[in-house]
């Protein structure tokens, strides 16, 4: 390993540690801090001989512990849950049975909450739209299949209809996929609930 490789590794390791420490910081702020620190390191490297490993170590030392930067980044930002946040996982899971509106309310509350991060929100919305109700509808389509009818009328003759029924997918595959989605739905809601309880502590 050359000293250049070691410098690359040191810098990458520091940035990865900072990225991990900033997990709970809102996305825009996190991105800006990471960009600035990356630039800080680039500027510092440009001012040093390219293989000055001790110099880079000193630069990282002056930057300080990633945890200290993260602590500073967390000031002025509260992840304390609102009381309605407790209802969000349940609305996402079962709200679809309340005329579909319950799930939409859950999704709206999810996106306006400070408790969940962006990836939780995307995950919570996409797996699975409509919650268990949505899974049920998809299940009905697969098992019931899709019926298509075509008819023709010829003047003076009775109407003739031909109906064919075909399942959306091949049934065993479709059912396996839906069971998978059902389980993913439960895991997602469990995850959202765990994050909420963590933030409430």
């Amino acid at each position: 390993m050359t000293s250049l490789d070691r410098i690359e590794a040191l810098v990458a390791e520091y940035l990865a540690a900072l990225d991990a420490a900033l997990t709970d910081v809102p996305a825009a702020r996190r991105r800006q801090i990471l960009e600035d620190v990356r630039q800080h390191l680039e500027a510092a490297r440009a001012s040093l001989p390219p293989d000055d490993e001790a110099g880079i170590r000193a630069v990282l030392d002056r930057l300080g512990d990633p945890a200290a930067i993260a602590a500073e980044a967390g000031v002025g930002f509260s992840r304390r849950p609102r009381w309605v946040d407790a209802a969000v996982p349940w609305l996402l899971l079962l709200g679809g049975f309340v005329g579909g509106g319950g799930w939409l309310v859950g999704a709206a509350l999810l996106w306006t909450s400070r408790v969940w991060r962006l990836r939780d929100k995307i995950w919570g919305t996409l797996v699975w739209p409509g919650g268990l109700f949505g899974v049920g509808v998809a299940f009905g389509t697969v098992v019931g299949g899709v019926q298509t009818c075509s008819g023709s009328t010829v003047a003076g003759h009775p109407l003739v209809m031909h109906c064919t029924s075909r399942p959306g997918w091949s049934e065993p595959v479709g059912i396996a996929v839906l069971v998978g989605i059902f389980c993913a739905q439960l895991v997602t809601v469990g995850h959202l609930e765990r994050v909420r309880r963590g933030a409430a502590r």
């Binding site: 702020r29 960009e35 800080h40 500027a43 002056r62 990633p66 500073e72 980044a73």
Partner: protein
């Protein structure tokens, strides 16, 4: 006693004051504040800058640098200039009052 809160509040205005002379990039600000002993680690500057930007007191611009990739420069906004002027006045009164009591003056 830890001066954490007091220092954090004051450092934000020191950043604004350093930007009075024109735009600067993060690395310069970090080394000035670190050498002055106002921040423990240079890295803690960046969350402060992010917050000042969220408050609309500074904004940023990408500019090409003589060597290497473009850099993000920070500069004061009008709101930042006003916030700094208000702080300078309040800080003067605050510092005088604290000094007077610390010196043990009875007619404070």
């Amino acid at each position: 006693m830890d001066l954490g809160q007091l220092r954090r509040g004051a450092v934000a205005y020191c950043i604004l004051a350093l930007l009075r002379g024109g735009e600067r990039y993060g690395w310069e600000l970090a080394s000035v504040l670190h050498d002055a002993g106002l921040i423990a680690g240079e890295g803690t500057l960046y969350p402060l800058l992010a917050r000042l930007r969220e408050m609309g007191w500074v904004d940023t611009e990408w500019k090409p640098s003589p060597h290497g990739p473009p850099r993000r420069y920070y500069r004061l906004t009008v709101a930042g200039v006003q916030a700094l002027a208000a702080f300078i006045e309040r800080w003067g009164r605050f510092r005088d009052a604290v000094d007077q009591i610390l010196r043990g003056s009875e007619d404070a």
